[in-house]
């Protein structure tokens, strides 16, 4: 088989970049460590731009394992952007509080590589390996603050539960392989159609009382595999009830890694989720949609209710991100096997909300990192009087939190409007209603943070105004502008996303045409 290696040059370059950064630290021991950070950021930016320009119109497969289509390219650029902003926000933090900077940046690059491969995978084992590359990088990064017991605890918990979830997922994959004899998405699809049709026939024969169980027919293994994979993915995206590791890992991790985990980790898992469910499992939507809908509802409710009680800002953001996962799962629920247009709308809405959420979340964390660089504190009450001390940071945090709560002017309003719309259109009125109510509850705890910043005077020994380092301030301006732009005029972004999700449903469209034809 001829493999077109030019399709995955960005991935090779990323691997090279990570190795070079780590190796450079050995060669240049006397260089100020922050230059490794800036070099990584520049490298990521160049790769992002070149990838966007060179691959935009590509629509090809790398063997049967990777697809390089619009969707892949969109997510490549997206992940590179996330990594770029994370690194930029991390430079001062790492310089002040961490050791072994080159490894730190190198691992961020490796994690990003894992994300890029994950979004491109169209084969279960490749996806699994990419996910593990991503997860292993994160296990180390979360525990990077070696001397901090919280960091160790978070890392250990994350690793143990992560390994458990990987095992679940692998078992699910093996079941799917056992039933269908294949691990490529495109080959699973038709089998799923047949499997579910057999189930339907089986049920019909039960109802008619005309026969017993056909041993070849039902393929319950397919369903069990599906459930196991969903559960494994649930761990990775931290959906309730698989979310227990999240608050500890978020609190323990160095702040830039918390940002990266909440943005990149989630985005990658959802890219995988979306591609898997729309290319392979879409025909069986009727079987899993209730499962995912309940998962989404519980995640939204529990995430928001738990967030109400938090006093630490990182834990608050952990629960807030859990609730955001609930909103994103609504996008999965809105996939509809019978209606490809609706499915594509749902996928586009999901990706749009994902991009809006990630931009917002990185903005929050960039601002909090700037605050932490100065104060070394991250409880909610420590933010008291921030509006007096650093009005721009306070504005950025307030804008981003309002965006997460889905308030107008900011990204969250437009993207939530569109994602809930997708659920309503697919007949999930109750789920949309829970989502809207949940985001109403979330406004309360976001307001509690905003109140600390704006209502109270600064407290404690350090009440001076302070400056934010230039690269960080620049990144923050860009991110807040992005949040406003998505909120006010998402049209161009939505257009790009909609053209990129089209490829996901080519096969499903062909299959449903075939089913209709029969």
């Amino acid at each position: 088989m001829d493999l077109e290696y030019q399709l995955i040059i960005p991935e090779f370059v990323m691997a090279g970049l990570a190795v070079v950064i780590i190796a450079a630290a050995l060669a240049f021991r006397n260089v100020d460590q922050k230059w490794f950070g800036y070099a990584t950021a520049v490298g990521l930016a160049i790769i992002a731009i070149v990838t966007a320009v060179a691959y935009w119109n590509t629509n090809d497969d790398f063997g049967t394992v990777l697809a390089v289509d619009h969707f892949t390219v969109l997510f490549r650029v997206f992940f590179l952007g996330i990594a770029f902003f994370t690194v930029l926000a991390a430079v001062q933090f790492a310089g002040d509080r961490l050791k072994n900077h080159a490894e730190f940046y190198g691992l961020i690059v490796f994690a990003t590589l894992g994300m890029m491969l994950l979004a491109a995978s169209r084969e279960l084992l490749t996806a699994y390996l990419s996910l593990e590359l991503l997860s292993f990088s994160f296990y180390i990064l979360v525990g990077f603050n070696k001397l901090n017991p919280f960091s160790n605890e978070g890392s250990l918990k994350y690793m143990l539960l992560g390994a458990f979830s990987s095992a679940l997922m692998l078992y699910g994959i093996s079941l799917i392989y056992g039933v269908t004899g294949t691990t490529t998405y495109s080959a699973i699809g038709p089998d799923v159609v047949e499997g579910t049709r057999n189930i339907a026939a089986q049920l019909a024969s039960f109802a008619g009382g005309s026969g017993g169980v056909d041993p070849d027919g039902a393929r319950p293994g397919l369903l069990i595999g599906l459930v196991l994979i969903t559960a494994g993915l649930g761990f990775k995206v931290s959906a309730v009830p698989f979310h227990q590791w999240t608050p500890d890992a978020y609190q323990g991790a160095p702040l830039p890694i918390t940002a990266f985990l909440s943005a990149g980790g989630k985005a990658a898992a959802f890219a995988f989720f979306l591609r898997l469910f729309s290319e392979a499992f879409l025909p069986a939507a009727a079987e899993w949609v209730w499962f995912v809908a309940i998962l989404a509802a519980v995640t939204m409710i529990v995430g928001n209710l738990m967030a109400l009680q938090q006093t630490n800002f990182k834990r608050l953001m952990a629960y807030s991100s859990i609730s955001q996962v609930g909103y994103l799962l609504v996008g999965i629920v809105a996939l509809d096997a019978a209606n490809i247009t609706q499915s594509q709308d749902a996928a586009s809405a999901l990706v749009l909300h994902l991009i809006g959420y990630v931009t917002t979340n990185i903005a929050v964390f960039a601002a909090i990192i700037a605050f932490y660089n100065r104060t070394g504190r991250d409880d909610i009450v420590d933010l008291r009087g921030l509006a007096e001390r650093q009005p721009f940071l306070a504005f950025a945090i307030a804008a981003a939190l309002f965006s997460l709560a889905g308030m107008p002017l900011f990204a969250g309003f437009a993207t939530k409007f569109i994602i809930f719309q997708a659920a309503f259109n697919n007949g999930f009125l109750w789920l949309g209603a829970i989502g809207v109510t949940a985001s109403f509850v979330s406004l309360y705890y976001y307001l509690m943070v905003i109140k600390q910043m704006y209502l109270y005077e600064p407290e404690g020994s350090d009440r001076e105004r302070f400056h934010v380092s230039r690269p960080l301030a620049g990144a923050l301006v860009v991110l807040v502008a992005g949040v406003l732009f998505i909120g006010l005029y998402p049209t161009p972004l939505f257009d790009v996303i909609h053209s990129s999700t089209e490829g996901l449903f080519e096969q499903a469209a062909a299959l449903s045409a075939a089913v209709v034809g029969q």
Partner: protein, 506 residues
């Protein structure tokens, strides 16, 4: 008339002022104030122009302007989400009202010295949001503007407010956003049911929704918007919020924001889901009647000036909801008149109370007495607001309430009696208040009080002018409102009052 750009300006001018203010360094407080004043002057002129030029002989929606925003992507068809602006005869007076109250609000905010820049940025956001609701014709942007009008309230109250402000601000925000959850669900239900792939109200108005669907989702709009209009029993945020808010914000809030609620019931409920009105409008009328009496009785018991006015707002908004609930042309006409009348009147009330509170640092009615000696202008202006509130003929309140009572007598005579009772109760608390604080024996503690500043006098004049104008010559208002109300779906026609059309026999 087809000059929709005038409507666009209503959003662009304050929006641009907001951005401009962000760029001004915060030490130049006066620059910020002048930007705000020039902005609201410009929007006031624009609002007056729109009100004047609105062609009432033609009626319907005018100044139509539509820019597509997202269309033909996925579930969105042509004009899926568009910036669609227009005003009808109901929105035109509301636009004028917002222009007046916003202008007066900037004038009385002149004395704010704490974080002036932030105040006016948020003020402009609120102001823009209110305009957006009155002129928006697309559900997405309508809801956008609705939330935008509610959101800055929290910070405005928390930073510049007084008396229990944390509690008042959080309660207000959560109750109002909770109401908008219902609106949000209702909007989606309507969108999905219509299946037209557009959020354009002009399209949705023409679609006939089934009775079952309308009966199910009408209360989402009625209660969701009604919360903002102080619908009983969801009104308790209103007195707490008004008391906590700074003067200008109370003015905008009671004067304009509460009207958004009643306006939303007309726009979303009565226009889009007319089939639901048969069942739900009597409910609204009953709740409005209860609020009218309950608010008036509560006001009698209050000792804090702002609480008196806060409860009087609940009572007067109860009249508005009663008027809407009658579903006949006179009652609804009266409701819209009352929205305008109560808007300027209550703004005047709050402006005056703010002027007093900033000097006296208390609003307890019991400690005041004989203020007329020290603050004659204050007493005169406050008195005009009070007399409007109790419905003295010759002032705007009379015209509005008369319409409402005539409309109600036709459908629910009992509630007309209740309404008139509550108007009588209003007389009790207003006159008692005046007798106690303004007249009565002079309390020497207030020897050092000064009369209103010239900014406050200017604000008061701006607000009193329409009160008197509407009281003695309501035709310009009724000419615009009545034909539009008559065209609302499911409206009973029970003849006209005071209208040019009734005089000319059309």
């Amino acid at each position: 008339m087809d000059a929709g750009e005038a409507l666009l300006l209503l959003l662009l001018i304050p929006g641009a002022a907001m951005l401009l203010t962000i760029l001004v360094p915060s030490r130049h407080a006066n620059v910020v104030r002048w930007i705000a004043l020039i902005t609201t002057t410009a929007t006031l002129i624009d609002s007056i122009w729109i009100f004047a030029v609105y062609d009432f002989a033609q009626g319907g929606y005018q100044f139509d302007l539509q820019y597509p925003w997202i269309e033909n992507i996925g579930f969105l068809g042509e004009n899926g989400i568009s910036l669609h602006l227009a005003v009808d005869g109901i929105a035109a007076p509301m636009v004028l009202l917002n222009g007046l109250v916003g202008f007066a609000g900037v004038l009385v905010s002149w004395k704010i010295t704490h974080r002036v820049k932030d105040f006016f940025i948020l003020f402009m956001a609120l102001f823009t949001g209110v305009y957006g609701v009155y002129i928006g014709q697309d559900l997405f942007f309508w809801f956008f503007a609705y939330e935008l009008a509610v959101l800055p309230m929290y910070l405005l109250i928390v930073i510049w407010g007084s008396t229990n402000k944390e509690y008042g601000a959080m309660k207000l925000t959560m109750v109002l956003v909770g109401g908008s959850v219902l609106i949000f669900v209702g909007i989606f239900a309507v969108f999905a049911e219509a299946g037209a792939g557009t959020f354009d109200m002009a399209v949705l108005r023409d679609i006939e929704f089934g009775r079952g669907f309308a009966n199910t989702f009408f209360p989402f709009f009625m209660i969701g918007c009604g919360v903002l209009a102080g619908l009983f029993p969801f009104h308790t945020w209103s007195p707490d919020g008004h008391v906590a808010a700074p003067t200008a914000v109370s003015m905008l809030h009671a004067g304009v924001l509460m009207k958004l609620g009643a306006f939303g019931i007309i726009r979303l409920g009565m226009e889009i889901l007319p089939a639901g009105t048969d069942f739900w409008m009597p409910v609204l009328l009953v709740l409005g009647g209860v609020a009218a009496v309950y608010g008036a009785i509560s006001a009698i018991h209050q000792t804090d000036l702002k609480f008196v006015i806060g409860y009087s707002s609940v009572s007067h908004m109860g009249f508005v909801l009663m008027g809407l609930g009658t579903m006949n042309n006179i009652g609804v006409n009266g409701a819209v008149l009352q929205m305008f009348s109560h808007g300027v009147m209550t703004a005047l009330f709050f402006a005056m109370v703010g002027g007093l509170y900033d000097q006296a640092h208390t609003r307890d009615i019991r400690v005041f007495g004989g203020l007329v000696r020290k603050m004659p202008l204050f007493v005169i202006f406050f008195g005009i607001a009070g007399l409007t509130s109790l419905g003295l003929p010759g002032l705007s309140g009379f015209v509005a309430e008369f319409h409402i009572f005539v409309g109600t007598i036709d459908t629910f005579p009992l509630f007309a009696a209740l309404g008139i009772l509550s108007a009588a109760l209003t007389a009790i608390y207003v006159l008692r208040l005046m007798g106690r604080a303004a007249l009565g024996p002079f309390n020497p503690r207030w020897e050092n009080l000064k009369d209103l500043s010239r900014w406050e006098i200017a604000a008061a004049i701006v607000l009193i002018a329409p009160i008197i104008a509407m009281g003695i010559w309501p035709d310009p208002f009724i000419d615009r409102i009545a034909p539009t109300v008559a065209e609302l779906p499911n409206i009973d026609q029970i003849g006209g009052l005071f209208t040019l059309s009734s005089l000319t026999g059309r």
